[in-house]
């Protein structure tokens, strides 16, 4: 599917991971993350295997490291907390390069960093291989209520329209000598937020009228396969796509047994 200029987290491709049904990828992601989170942090080898699983998936999905690693910086703000833990926690201490660090704090920090990193890596993998337009249908197949998926559908579509509107309004203000960073002009910014709310509200009403006039009765109908909606996943696709999650669950269980 030629998505044109899609989301920066999406990487267009035709790999088996791209073709895997979105609903199964979501289930696989959730299971994988649960398995990682449930693994005791005192062991190191399970996390090595998890990382290996992700590397293999990236390889199959043709996601180059230099493309995906910079995107993993999203998690940086969360790591700040982890860095503080070895200093703030109490209990037994060790000396590393002249610093007295808490052992339990070090373990906690390691747990946060490695589990967070694996979680972000797995989520980015799904994001990089799944387009936003596949999500509503995938979620509705997983039993998410139609109200929620309709909201998601509208959000996916109108977030761009709204962003464009915001930047047009901003440009019109700036071209009349406004500098949005100056404190004394915060009033103008606040008013344009208000204006944007009203415009969005009115647009929402017009969109609803247009939907009504095409026979909308509150439910987004099931569309035909081939009309931008993929066939539901087959049993074989479920099994194949869940392989990474199955491997992770096995690793997690063995970790608990081995401990």
């Amino acid at each position: 599917m030629g998505a044109g200029h899609a989301h920066p987290l999406y990487r267009d491709g035709h790999s088996p991971i791209h073709r895997a049904p979105a609903e199964v990828k979501i289930v696989c992601l959730v299971l994988f993350v649960l398995a990682v989170v449930a693994t005791p942090r005192e062991l190191f080898w399970p996390f090595g295997i998890y990382a290996l699983i992700i590397l293999i998936v990236w390889r199959v999905g043709q996601l180059p490291l230099r493309w995906i690693l910079p995107r993993m910086l999203i998690e940086a703000p969360f790591l700040v907390l982890a860095v503080l833990l070895p200093f703030s926690e109490g209990g037994e201490r060790v000396e590393v390069a002249g610093l007295h660090l808490s052992v339990s704090g070090l373990y906690a920090a390691w747990g946060i960093v490695i589990k967070g990193t694996l979680g972000v890596a797995a989520s980015l993998t799904v994001a990089a291989t799944t387009t936003a337009r596949e999500l509503p249908l995938a979620l509705s197949r997983l039993g998410v209520p139609p109200m929620v998926t309709s909201m998601l559908t509208l959000m996916i579509r109108y977030i761009d329209v709204l962003t464009a509107e915001v930047s047009r309004m901003r440009m019109a203000r700036v071209s009349r000598g406004d500098s949005p960073r100056a404190l004394h002009q915060v009033g103008a910014t606040a008013k344009s937020v208000g204006a944007l709310f009203l415009r969005s509200y009115e647009r929402g009403e017009r969109v609803y009228l247009a939907m009504l006039s095409r026979g909308f009765d509150g439910k987004v109908p099931q569309l035909a396969v081939g009309v931008g909606s993929a066939a539901p996943a087959s049993a074989r696709q479920w099994v194949l796509t869940l392989l990474p999650a199955a491997a992770a669950v096995m690793v997690s269980v063995s970790a608990w047994v081995a401990r």
Partner: protein, 249 residues
């Protein structure tokens, strides 16, 4: 009164908005099946309000609207909406699904079309507006002209007998404007075109209705209406500089 598919009969239509503003003050209008009628008039004349009555998005305060002999009422709503397709002014209001194909499928799917027939409807509608190769793109990534034609396809896929357009040529560059006109001329349906673009009305329609202050003030052949400079001027309409209404056969 007529029972032909594609015919419109409006009698004594009044509509008052909840805030008390009277938008329509007694509209009478009959359109025969297959006619192409331009609805002209200044801003605030009630043109869009009239359009919203044609498929029951708004319901008359008093008076009646009949589509193919069936009065528009709560009971006939679904049938009326299948027969009458509205193409809104801003395609961003009309196109709300993640891809063009899904949006085109939305209308017919609401009317119970499923499976292969739905896929066929989508293909045909996209073919009429020459957007087949853009089926799986997001409407956000189309040009203005393509978006307008996509909005038309979403309505055509419902196979309406009557098509109603709100300012179809607004915000289009000259080529997109001509391409849309060419598309419209090959569609076989009753058409109501609400517009300020008088040359466009002259090109597409046989008959023109002028509305002002919520009532119909003129109703005649398009050539006669557009040649009456006094009538046009009285309702804040005028032909663009240099435009001469072409003679009709």
């Amino acid at each position: 009164m007529t029972h032909t598919p594609g015919a419109i009969h409006i009698e004594g239509l009044h509509y008052t908005y909840p805030d008390g503003h009277v938008a329509l003050g007694g509209v009478d209008l009959t359109v025969a099946a297959g006619e192409r009628v331009a609805i002209l008039g200044p801003n605030g004349a009630g043109k869009t309000t009239l359009m919203l009555h044609l498929n029951g998005v708004l319901t008359a305060t008093t008076g009646s609207v009949e589509i193919a002999g069936t009065p528009v009422s709560r009971k006939s709503l679904r049938d009326v909406r299948r027969r009458v397709g509205l193409v809104f002014q801003d395609p961003d209001d009309q196109l709300f699904m993640p891809t063009v194909a899904q949006d085109v499928a939305f209308g017919p799917a609401n009317f119970g079309v499923r499976g292969d027939e739905l896929a066929a409807r989508v293909r045909e509608a996209l073919d009429v507006v020459s957007l087949t190769e853009h089926a799986d793109r997001s409407p956000a990534h189309l040009s203005g002209g393509q978006r307008r034609r996509a909005a038309l396809a979403t309505v055509l896929a419902c196979e309406p007998e009557i098509l109603v357009f709100d300012e179809p040529s607004a915000n289009l560059d000259p080529v997109a404007r001509r391409e849309l006109a060419e598309t419209l001329l090959k569609i076989d349906a009753t058409m109501l075109i609400v517009t300020h673009d008088l040359p466009y009305a002259a090109q597409l329609c046989d008959r023109a209705v002028i509305m002002d202050h919520g009532v119909v003030v003129a109703d005649d052949a398009i050539g006669a209406v557009l040649s009456d400079a006094e009538l046009l001027a009285a309702h804040r309409l005028e032909l663009p500089w240099g435009f001469v209404v072409p003679a009709r056969d």
